[in-house]
């Protein structure tokens, strides 16, 4: 599992979507993250980390390659949310004749 910065994560996510155009699926997982970097200690041993309340973990995979990133600031949330998976789906969906998602999502990005 590769832990990336937010911008690199978006770049790699684009590549995952492009690779899976003809076959396969892209899975994106989102979970709240408390900032721990070490495993949970055994009973009787003290926790040695500061719990963080404002982070989330984003993971993406195509079944083979796995990438992840930690999102912790509100303006990063906007960047990931807007420039992330839904834009990729919009681009791919434009290829299919019956998906008319392009104009809708295009206007959405202009408004953020």
């Amino acid at each position: 599992m590769v832990l990336l910065e937010n911008d690199s994560f978006l770049t790699e996510l684009t590549r995952l979507f492009q690779k899976c155009r003809t076959t396969g699926s892209v899975a994106i997982t989102l979970k709240k993250y408390d900032g721990r970097t070490k495993p949970v200690p055994r009973k009787g041993h003290p926790e040695s980390y500061e719990p963080a309340d404002n982070k989330c973990l984003l993971r993406a995979s195509d079944g083979k390659k796995k990438i992840s990133t930690v999102v912790s600031l509100k303006h990063h949330v906007r960047k990931i949310g807007v420039g992330g998976w839904d834009m990729q789906i919009a681009r791919l969906a434009n290829v299919r004749e019956h998906w008319l998602v392009g104009p809708i999502l295009g206007s959405m990005y202009m408004n953020v």
């Binding site: 979507f17 899976c20 155009r21 003809t22 076959t23 396969g24 699926s25 892209v26 899975a27 994106i28 997982t29 989102l30 979970k31 709240k32 993250y33 408390d34 719990p51 309340d53 404002n54 982070k55 989330c56 999102v71 912790s72 600031l73 509100k74 990063h76 949330v77 990931i80 949310g81 998976w85 839904d86 789906i89 919009a90 791919l92 969906a93 299919r96 019956h98 998906w99 008319l100 998602v101 809708i104 999502l105 959405m108």
Partner: protein, 82 residues
């Protein structure tokens, strides 16, 4: 675990589940371009809520819910601390 038939019911249940257990809940999106469908799952490993679609207009709704949950996770005004 059945898929929800209406988006509104799914969205309401998903947000309620997240607010009940913010540290346990994960949101999984799975997109298959070759089949033309998008699935979303919200689970705390006990309850599993799923919705699937092949409609373009649902992409925007799913994106809004995903963004909303992400903002809740990143916001500092969450309820319980350890």
């Amino acid at each position: 675990m059945p898929y929800y038939q209406t988006w509104e019911e799914f969205a309401r249940a998903a947000e309620k589940l997240y607010l009940t257990a913010p540290m346990k809940v994960r949101v999984v999106l799975k997109y298959r371009h070759c089949d033309g469908n998008l699935r979303i799952k919200v689970t705390d490993d006990a309850v599993c809520l799923q919705y699937k679609t092949d409609q373009a207009q649902d992409v925007k709704k799913i994106e809004k819910l995903h963004g909303k949950l992400m903002r809740l996770m990143v916001s500092k005004e969450s309820g319980d601390h350890e």
